[in-house]
Symmetry: C2
Subunit: 342 residues, 2 copies
DNA sequence: CTGTTAGCGCGTTCAG
DNA sequence: CTGAACGCGCTAACAG
């Protein structure tokens, strides 16, 4: 059985006032007689009144809901971000609407020119692969609060605020960890060098070596592309080249996992012969044997920070242009910890 | 610079007609002069008109958007479901709003009594942990289309339609695979026996044995609780009991992964000494050495099916009460395949 | 402290 | 084929 929706008019009638007064009372506005307010609250409650978000939006232009644009196809890490966003927004009383960007550029255009103007979103959180920022700048022009989450880019001063992480420092800590364990011939598998993130992680690696006074050695650095198979290829090429190495730092976990497997297949023992470190802290790293030491990306926290930022912007508060959340080294078994000096 | 929103009134004025006509033209209604229609379309386009979803909802009561209630805290599998839902809804032109249920029962009540009546959702997809179905029945009463996704319950005839999977058959196939490989002493780690899913998977195991004429053996069955550590405990208890076994079927992957590790630690070789199979096909299973054979849960497809179903219901079409999507055995290395007879 | 009036943008009668 | 008038539910001037 479907009964008609209870409106402020119904309450007004029962309370013997106008809907204006009801509206004021229910929204905790000043200038309402405490008694009247109480009476209205009681009636609203008794009638099971629930405000119509739609009508409110139409009138006020604000909806307490945000869009979350995500590349639905990729990468499990997105789940952590989503959780971070969702938890914070839930707490702040905001709703989240999901916009998959799987269709690529067309989807982005749709979002910017059709969906956002149509739907009542107070702001937008973007989780975009690098290079997909074709149209979203337009939103910033239009005054829509937008925050970008990207573990790959450490950019300030772009079109809109962003949340990132410390790729350089993460890589430096990882490398440093290997150095402290006494490893000196540390090989590295990079990501695709046209991406900031790859350059940054390589940079961190070099910094650590330099600080430790260990010479950088070109033949120890092999280029990968963040895909699993390139991790395997990298190991093969290292082994074939005959270059000696006692540690391996892979720029991301999929490559590290593949490397582990390739080393295993070649009879190289981890961590005895070669200590291995990855980057990202994907779920699987905890389950391999040996479990993989890796650099944890604070994705949950990044999502949470982005959510807080965009809400702040939507509510007209001042916000930071760029927030950077530190990575954290997760030491597991693949480095043969135990013997850490300090 | 913020310009005022373009409305049908603006178009009407330019076209020299009323907004009534514009509305009709833009919504592909009959009874509009083709010329007028074309002219209106042209003007709308030129002005960059975007309909206000809010106003439409207020007027029509339908929003082309659905709610997706999810227990944000748990289980990576949720990502696949989310993708399935999101992809289908994107294709059908529906929006998805996320409702985290992390706060538990209170969150559910909120959703049912505050959020759904307030927001203009045409339907709701529920991903709920078993036992959390306290208030949602009320939505069904109110005529809101609701579909439940649950890999754990194979229930028909409940309050609302549901999408599930074939736990019994999946377990039977897994066990059968081990039998075909010549294993006869197949141990099993169950889930918590108060859950349907655990009973079903055990049931599948027994069916397979029976069909193969292999006697069911009580001391080969150890009870776990789906948590990692219970997988380790189960292996320890099997080893300590001294019972001979040449295969192990774990009721889910976390337990299987832990079991792999425990066997490894005890010097038991997988698959040589013991063939191992899990259930769920979580990401990590592909990365262990040996990679884990497991039963794939069609989570993506379940999400997709649920989305299609709830849309159908929202649009007044007839729907099935229960959809069951088959599991699929993913053969990797932990059973020592190769020698499969047929 | 409260009521009157107006309108957010749209779809839908009911007349022509 | 088209227009006039109305209302979805709510908030915001402006009066009193």
């Amino acid at each position: 059985m479907i009964r008609r929706r209870v409106t402020i008019d119904d309450i007004a009638r029962q309370a013997g006032v106008t809907k204006t007064t009801v509206s004021r009372a229910l929204n905790d506005r000043p200038d309402v007689n405490p008694e009247t307010r109480a009476r209205i609250a009681e009636i609203a409650n008794r009638l099971g009144y629930v405000p119509s978000a739609t009508a409110k939006v139409l009138r006020t232009g604000r909806s307490r809901s945000l869009g979350l644009a995500w590349p639905s196809f990729t990468w499990p890490g997105i789940l952590s971000i989503l959780r971070g966003v969702s938890d914070v927004l839930d707490e702040l009383g905001y709703q989240v609407m999901l916009f998959p960007l799987g269709r690529g550029e067309e989807a982005e255009r749709d979002l910017v020119f059709r969906v956002m103007p149509s739907l009542p979103m107070d702001g937008l959180i973007l989780i975009l692969p690098p290079g997909m920022l074709r149209y979203v700048g337009e939103l910033a022009n239009r005054g829509v609060p937008v925050v970008l989450i990207d573990d790959r880019i450490e950019h300030r001063d772009r079109d809109f605020p962003s949340v990132g992480t410390t790729n350089v420092m993460g890589a430096r800590e990882a490398t440093d960890h290997l150095l402290r364990l006494g490893r000196r011939r540390i090989a590295m598998i990079t990501g695709p060098m046209d991406q900031d993130v790859s350059r940054n992680r390589l940079c961190g690696y070099r910094q650590a070596l330099e600080e430790a006074g260990v010479p950088y050695c070109d033949e120890l650095v092999v280029h990968g592309n963040f895909e699993s198979h390139s991790g395997r290829a990298a190991v093969q090429s290292l082994l074939e080249s005959g270059v000696r190495f006692d540690a391996l730092f892979a720029s991301n976990d999929p490559m590290a996992l593949a490397a582990l497997r390739a080393l295993h297949a070649a009879g190289v023992r981890v961590p005895d012969h070669v200590a291995l470190v990855g980057f990202d802290d994907v779920e699987a790293t905890a389950f391999t044997i040996p479990a993989l030491t890796t650099v944890h990306q604070p994705l949950y926290e990044m999502g949470a920070a982005a959510a807080r930022t965009v809400v702040a912007a939507a509510e007209g508060r001042q916000i930071e242009r760029h927030i950077e959340i530190p990575t954290r080294l997760v030491v597991r078994e693949s480095c043969g910890a135990a013997t850490v000096p300090d």
